[in-house]
């Protein structure tokens, strides 16, 4: 096993990248893997957490936050991303919103074949919408978080980070 896979992606690292890139609002719908990140975000006074109950609403909420001059981050799972196609199209891409989507890559595996259709269709979905994406497996990939923010700002488009590691507890 490589060092990257051994170490995984620590929530502390994710939070540090968010703050480094000036995130003010996290629009999110939790999945079972994000609780530790939630606990960290909740304790951070510089972040406003905006919980939604349908992922499509995250894109329009983020568009409003960005229009008002603040920096949102969308934190959802790939299942919900695929449910959000029209909102991604109309609110994020259509309004030139430079937002980073941190997407839990449910079902993805580095080894063998993806059998979970959530994983099978994720990259095809992003390609269909022309949304660029980066794979983040562990802390060694954390620089890709900043790369995604820089690209979103430069292109005025959404950029996705596919988080292929379950967030876990404090390391």
């Amino acid at each position: 096993m490589s060092d990257t896979l051994k170490s995984g992606l620590s929530p502390e690292k994710v939070l540090a990248e968010m703050k480094k890139n000036g995130v003010t609002h996290v629009v999110w719908l939790p999945d079972s893997e994000t609780n530790w990140l939630y606990l960290l975000m909740k304790e951070d006074p510089s972040l406003t957490l905006v919980g939604v109950n349908r992922e499509g609403l995250a894109f329009s909420a983020a568009a409003g936050i960005a229009a008002g001059g603040k920096r949102p981050l969308i934190l959802i799972q790939n299942t919900g991303l695929m449910e959000s196609g029209d909102s991604l199209r109309g609110w994020a891409i259509g309004l030139n919103v430079p937002v980073v989507l941190m997407v839990g890559y449910r079902g993805w595996t580095r080894h063998g074949v993806n059998t979970d259709t959530a994983a099978v269709y994720t990259e095809r979905f992003l390609n269909a919408f022309g949304v660029n994406y980066y794979l983040v497996e562990g802390d060694a990939d954390a620089q890709r978080i900043s790369i995604a923010f820089e690209e979103a700002t430069k292109t005025k488009r959404p950029v996705a980070l596919l988080v292929a590691d379950e967030y876990h507890g404090f390391n």
Binding site: V50, N53, L57, S60, G64, A67, G69, D86
Partner: protein
């Protein structure tokens, strides 16, 4: 039921410096508003998202009053956002919902349970503490000042006459005078928000 344009003319007298997201009332609002740089007539980027967009704007701009004219079809499509708005409690957010009981832009088909759904009860149950239901212009004219002077979030259910469109989309008159992106850029300039 109210005439939407007449209702918006009355609202405009009380608008002050509020930022207005006119939603489905946009085609009338662009002819009524005298502060277009504080308007976001976005048309329909994607149905069901107007309330979440306006909520996001309110959260980002706590020093500005944000007024949204949502619709019954949009609210039914994104009803879950009412709970989020109630949780976030943006004190600067005024959520008006135009209820014409139908999908007017697709030919006037009824929205689900159009005649009996109680949107004021839905909003209250989701956690809005200030909720109004108005079905005539006289009452609207009397109440609008009070609605806008109370702290948000406020939900106001407005019964309006449907303005059904049956022409093919390509044959309809275009009412937007600016692109969506330009409207946002104009608002940001007005507010002195610099690009990141």
């Amino acid at each position: 039921m109210m005439d939407t344009a007449e209702m918006l003319r009355i609202f405009n007298r009380h608008r002050g410096d509020a930022i207005v997201v006119p939603g489905r009332g946009g085609r009338h609002w662009v002819k009524i508003s005298d502060r277009p740089n504080r308007d976001l007539p976005l048309g329909d980027p994607a149905m069901g998202g107007h309330a979440s967009f306006a909520m996001g704007l309110a959260l980002a701009l706590p020093g500005q009053r944000i007024v949204l004219f949502d619709s019954d079809g949009d609210v039914q499509m994104g009803m879950g956002i009412l709970a989020t708005i109630a949780e976030q409690q943006p004190r600067n957010f005024y959520h008006f919902m135009l209820d014409n009981e139908c999908y007017a832009t697709t030919g006037g088909q009824p929205v689900p349970n159009a005649k009996t759904i109680a949107y004021d009860a839905v909003a209250r149950a989701c956690g809005y503490t200030r909720v109004h239901a108005i079905d005539n212009l006289e009452t609207f004219a009397i109440q609008i000042e009070g609605i806008l002077s109370a702290p948000g979030p406020v939900f106001t259910w407005l019964k309006v006459r449907p303005e059904v469109e049956n022409q093919p989309i390509g044959a309809r008159s275009k009412w937007r005078t600016r692109s969506q992106v330009q409207a946002i850029a104009d608002l940001r300039k007005e507010l002195g928000i610099t690009e990141r």
